[in-house]
């Protein structure tokens, strides 16, 4: 009898310790317009809540061309409270790398990034009504400013975010401080990417999900004989994925076009990076999300289902 109880207990423990299939939602470039658009966004959040994903990932661009004043950041921070499940966030260009434009208020971009860090990344947790803990690069490395670069583990799948935003990733030649910031952040991003994939390799994890705002692939794949603005980062991702050898999902937004593809299959070395899948999320005016199924017992791990308001 004692042995039977031990066996049952072992089965229960092992059952709980095995990676279970789960779903998360990816979304971004949301709600650029006024009240009507925000209302539609709220409907989408309601649908996401009903779907009960493990968490959501918002890849940035919380508003369109609008003044980057503090009130707007606070408003969007509160809007994240509508998510009943945790929601991880990585900033997009409209929140900061566009803010030095006239239509955005002529702010100094770095000052907006600092504001984002203060408001959205004050704690080592996700956003949402029921936040999840995450590990921030700033807390464990010499890259002490980068609270927005985070990673977390869910059912053995490693998730990480990189602060890589559209609008040239703040590498704006006419703003010296922006250039300096971009170069420094690039170092931090590469370090975070390399270290996260090191963890994935050393622990034999089944998959990695990498999220950022910028569309980094277009210039590097469509015209691979031209130098692209993100070539360096793309190369790093390729190398990391190649060494990892298991499914890698790159989630981004920026171009407002729903795409799922394996972007390097048509490259000169198609087999080398075939484990990289790219998901570009919907974007305004399509206020939609993508529910990503994760089943590490399947060969390609990830499956996709749009989720949106009719």
């Amino acid at each position: 009898m004692k042995q039977l109880l031990s066996l049952i207990l072992s089965v229960l423990v092992c059952y709980q310790l095995h990676a279970e299939p789960f779903k998360f939602v990816a979304l971004g470039d949301t709600a650029y317009g006024g009240a009507a658009v925000k209302a539609k966004y709220h409907e989408l959040i309601d649908l996401i809540n009903q779907a009960k994903p493990a968490f959501s990932i918002h890849i940035g661009d919380l508003w369109g061309a609008a003044i980057c004043n503090e009130e707007r950041y606070l408003e969007e921070f509160e809007r994240f409270e509508r998510f009943e499940q945790p929601v991880f966030f990585t900033p997009g260009d409209n929140e900061w790398t566009d803010c030095n434009r006239y239509a955005y208020g002529n702010y100094e971009n770095v000052s907006r990034l600092e504001l984002i860090r203060d408001i959205f990344f004050a704690d080592a947790t996700s956003l949402g009504a029921n936040p999840m803990s995450m590990v921030r690069q700033a807390d464990i490395s010499q890259f002490i400013d980068y609270v927005e670069n985070a990673r977390w583990l869910y059912e053995d799948v490693l998730f990480l975010t990189l602060n890589v935003a559209g609008s040239f990733n703040n590498l704006q030649i006419k703003h010296e401080r922006s250039i300096q910031e971009a170069f420094e952040r690039h170092k931090a991003n590469i370090a975070w990417l390399r270290d996260s994939f090191r963890i994935a390799r050393e622990n034999d994890l089944p998959a990695v999900v990498l999220s950022m705002h910028a569309e980094i692939l277009d210039a590097s794949t469509a015209d691979d004989y031209l130098p692209g603005e993100f070539d360096d980062l793309v190369s790093e991702i390729q190398l990391a994925a190649y060494r990892f050898g298991k499914p890698v999902l790159l989630i981004h937004g920026d171009f407002h076009k729903f795409i799922i593809d394996r972007p390097f299959l048509e490259s000169r070395e198609p087999g080398r990076y075939g484990n990289i899948t790219r998901l570009q999320v919907y974007g305004d005016p399509d206020i939609r999300g993508v529910q990503v199924g994760v089943d590490t017992s399947k060969k390609w791990v990830f499956s996709y289902e749009p989720i949106y308001v009719e």
Binding site: Q3, L4, L7, S10, V11, C14, L17, H18, A19, V135, Q137, D139, I140, S141, Q142, R151, W152, L153, E155, D156, L158, F168, N169, L171, Q172, I173, K174, E176, I179, F183, H186, K187, I190, A191, R194, D195, R198, I199, N203, D204, L205, A219, D223, Y225, L226, P227, G228, E229, F230, D231, D232, S235, E236, L239, Y242, R243, R272
Partner: protein
């Protein structure tokens, strides 16, 4: 259940994959790494590559480029031209040279032809030449590209900058307005 069955069942359970115990808080700053795959022969080494690289050709007196990171809207190559102040170099030759350098064009990336160029003087203090190229891609396509050459003098030397728009045509004209300041930044980075 017999002891043998118990042991067998326990063994099976232990053999099943379980959630990994992963330390996400251990950080290693990998600044350089060498990796070789003996199966495929694939080999790589990656120190940081965003630093400006040295001039690729001895004929270039001064080359400033953020090519290894790639400036977002355009890449910039600066060519110190040995001409008298105020005298413009041969535009076509200069365009070809700068274009090739900015792309790192190899034998399979030959510039096919210079389609046209327009000269627009006094563009925010520069002499600017807009040129359009077509070149043969590795798969045989003819790719039209547009670039702007800017010429200005600084410390009694004439400089030509090739700005190849890689991202957004709209951004190019606005960014060029401050390119003189940027040139100083880039030159500093190169030194």
């Amino acid at each position: 259940m017999t002891n043998k069955k118990w042991l067998f069942t326990s063994f099976l359970l232990l053999a099943l994959p379980t959630l990994a115990q992963v330390d996400l808080e251990q950080f290693e700053n990998v600044t350089s790494e060498h990796y070789a795959d003996s199966k495929s022969g694939f080999e790589l080494a990656y120190p940081y590559r965003w630093q400006p690289r040295p001039p690729p050709a001895p004929s270039i007196d001064l080359l400033v480029s953020a090519d290894s990171y790639n400036l977002p809207s355009f890449s910039v190559v600066v060519r110190e031209v040995s001409t008298e102040e105020g005298e413009f170099p041969d535009q076509r030759q200069l365009a070809m040279e700068l274009f090739s350098q900015s792309l790192g064009i190899g034998s399979q990336r030959l510039v096919e032809d210079l389609i046209e160029y327009d000269r627009a003087t006094d563009f925010k203090g520069f002499s600017a030449f807009e040129v359009k190229f077509a070149f043969n891609s590795p798969i045989g396509e003819q790719i039209p590209l547009q670039m702007v050459i800017l010429v200005f003098t600084d410390e009694n030397k004439t400089y030509a900058l090739a700005a190849l728009d890689l991202y957004s045509p709209d951004s190019l004209s606005s960014d060029l307005l401050n390119i003189r300041d940027s040139f100083q930044i880039l030159r500093g980075a190169d030194e």
